[in-house]
């Protein structure tokens, strides 16, 4: 059963130096507060996994927490480059970053295979593309019925996955709504998992019998962190701060401005500081 606890406890108990870690959220519900707590606790040597390493991983990479990254699209969505990621790849600053690069389809299938306890995923993919030439973890498998050759990638099985969700009940059952990305798969594929939520409620009351629910017994820790997805958004709670995504480009461009920002907004801050972001109303009700 999931343990309801503080964010510092959840990170301390579940995220170890050297872990393979997935913080997921496809633009929506990105667990920023948890990412900041990982930086504050000074984790080192993490192997980061994420389809779309955007600002959250730019921060972890720039803060020196990461030794490597598996990903399929690394950018500031709609804005441009991730400067800390580029600085690590191009100049090994603050340390070298080993990368393993896939397509979205391969990553999504690899999470799916992890959740399904399969050792690999297969897809009709990578045809005519150059990634298989530079990534030895893109192989092939032959259909035993038709002889067709398909692409194969290893399943993703993180030591720990971290996601943010709308709400949990007091037993630790979690509801996710809207763009759910690969979050359910990331949690089910992982050995341990942390879910930060906007609200803890008495009754989960999913709007549909087929809503996306993670039962308490499939989650390790549940933490109440209102606003914890800022500057991404929580469908039904608060909108995405596009302005922050645009502003990040300037903050992250230079090492000094980045470090000053981390010092001020991460090292000297706490999870409770995210609550103010939860107060904005979405432009449209969910």
């Amino acid at each position: 059963m999931a343990r309801l606890c503080s964010l510092s406890e959840a990170i301390a108990e579940n995220v170890k130096d050297g872990d393979t870690i997935a913080m997921e959220g496809f633009t929506h519900l990105i667990p920023y507060a948890a990412g900041h707590e990982v930086i504050r606790q000074g984790r080192k040597g993490l192997y980061l996994v994420r389809m779309t390493p955007d600002i959250i991983y730019d921060q972890l990479i720039g803060a020196g927490c990461a030794r490597g990254m598996k990903f399929s699209w690394g950018g500031n969505p709609g804005v441009g480059s991730l400067h800390r990621f580029r600085d690590a790849v191009e100049n090994q600053w603050p340390r070298p970053l080993e990368i393993e690069e896939h397509s979205h389809a391969a990553m999504a299938n690899a999470y799916e295979a992890g959740a399904a306890n399969l050792p690999f995923a297969m897809l009709r993919g990578y045809i005519g593309a150059d990634l298989p030439k530079v990534n030895p973890n893109i192989r092939s498998v032959t259909c035993p019925f038709t002889g067709e050759v398909l692409a194969a990638v290893p399943a993703i099985r993180p030591d720990v996955s971290i996601i943010h969700a709308q709400r949990a009940d007091r037993k630790g059952n979690v509801l996710i709504e809207g763009i759910t990305g690969v979050q359910k798969e990331a949690v089910l594929a992982a050995k341990r998992s942390i879910v930060t939520v906007e609200e803890i409620v008495d009754e989960l009351n999913p709007p549909s019998p087929n809503s996306t629910v993670l039962p308490s017994w499939a989650v390790t820790s549940v933490v109440h962190v209102p606003g914890g997805a800022f500057p991404s958004y929580a469908h039904g709670y608060y909108p995405r701060s596009n302005a922050f995504y645009i502003a990040w480009d300037k903050i992250a461009r230079e090492r000094e401005t980045f470090q000053a920002w981390i010092e001020e907004n991460v090292m000297k801050a706490s999870p409770e500081d995210f609550a103010k972001h939860a107060e904005k109303q979405p432009v449209k009700a969910a």
């Binding site: 389809m51 699209w73 979205h104 389809a105 299938n109 993919g125 005519g128 809207g178 759910t180 958004y233």
Partner: protein, 257 residues
């Protein structure tokens, strides 16, 4: 008929025109997204727009900054998990048209969004492929839109992120692909289509007040022109009004939050 428009506006509108009501369109972010929504708000109100975040049949009122803005899910018919999007809908062969942009393109409409320079020691590390490699192979056909420039339209790519027509000719078919690949590349100066046999990109239409010399100056390879090159019809007042409206709403929304 309006004559007061920018090359980027012309590009977006020309790109929008190729879409129809019957299209189920996998929409890339940026220029493709603008074009697809202009199509939806003008001549193709029933077009189905799909973003890789899992949003199906979405009708955004402002253009999303990211592929997964809340606007997309709020206005979608339904939203599926990302693995399902790539498995059942894209790989399942349910998408008629994929609409891509890119950092670099070659004359066979192969795209690079991965690296400039060697992969191991890149001069510029670009964001990577995202959905593009499988969009390019699994959609019925591909439209591409990007501004024409020497940096973007290059003789040889450092890296093929997603295959267009490969080395040209029947290369796609030889690799077992049954989809058409890129059938149209819309730029801010002209429109290319692949030659029916060689698959080399060929200028089939030039935008108003653009010369063949300008096209050549802004393209990194020796440009082929079709026997009959059309004049791209200029934007109608409706097209321009719709595009400017959505751009204005978008700017306001993105600066607000």
């Amino acid at each position: 008929m309006s004559t007061d428009f920018t090359p980027t506006e012309m590009m977006t509108i020309a790109a929008a025109r190729a879409l129809t009501n019957d299209d189920v369109c996998f929409v890339g972010i940026g220029a493709p997204s603008a074009a697809c929504n202009v199509a939806r708000l003008t001549h193709a109100p029933d077009i189905t727009l799909i973003y890789e975040s899992g949003t199906v049949g979405t009708k955004p009122d402002v253009l999303p900054l990211s592929i997964g803005d809340g606007e997309l899910s709020d206005t979608a018919l339904f939203t599926v998990p990302v693995p399902e999007m790539f498995r059942y809908w894209l790989q399942g062969g349910r998408i008629t048209t994929g609409f891509l942009g890119g950092a670099q393109i070659d004359k066979f409409a192969n795209l690079n969004t991965t690296v400039v320079g060697p992969y191991d020691k890149p001069k510029v590390r670009l964001p990577g492929g995202g959905g593009a490699p499988e969009i390019a192979s699994n959609c019925g056909r591909i439209f591409i839109t990007m501004a024409l420039s020497n940096r973007g339209f290059v003789e040889k790519l450092n890296f093929i992120t997603s295959m267009g027509h490969g080395e040209g000719g029947d290369h796609r078919a030889r690799l077992g692909m049954k989809t058409k690949g890129p059938t149209r590349v819309v730029t801010d100066l002209c429109i290319f289509e692949p030659d029916p046999v060689s698959k080399e990109l060929t200028v089939v239409s030039i935008h108003k007040d653009v010369t063949r010399e300008q096209v050549q100056e802004n393209c990194g390879w020796t440009v082929k022109f079709a026997d009959h090159v059309e004049d791209t019809p200029v934007p109608t007042e409706t097209e321009l009004a719709v595009l400017r409206d959505i751009n204005a709403r978008t700017k306001k929304a993105h600066e607000a939050a």
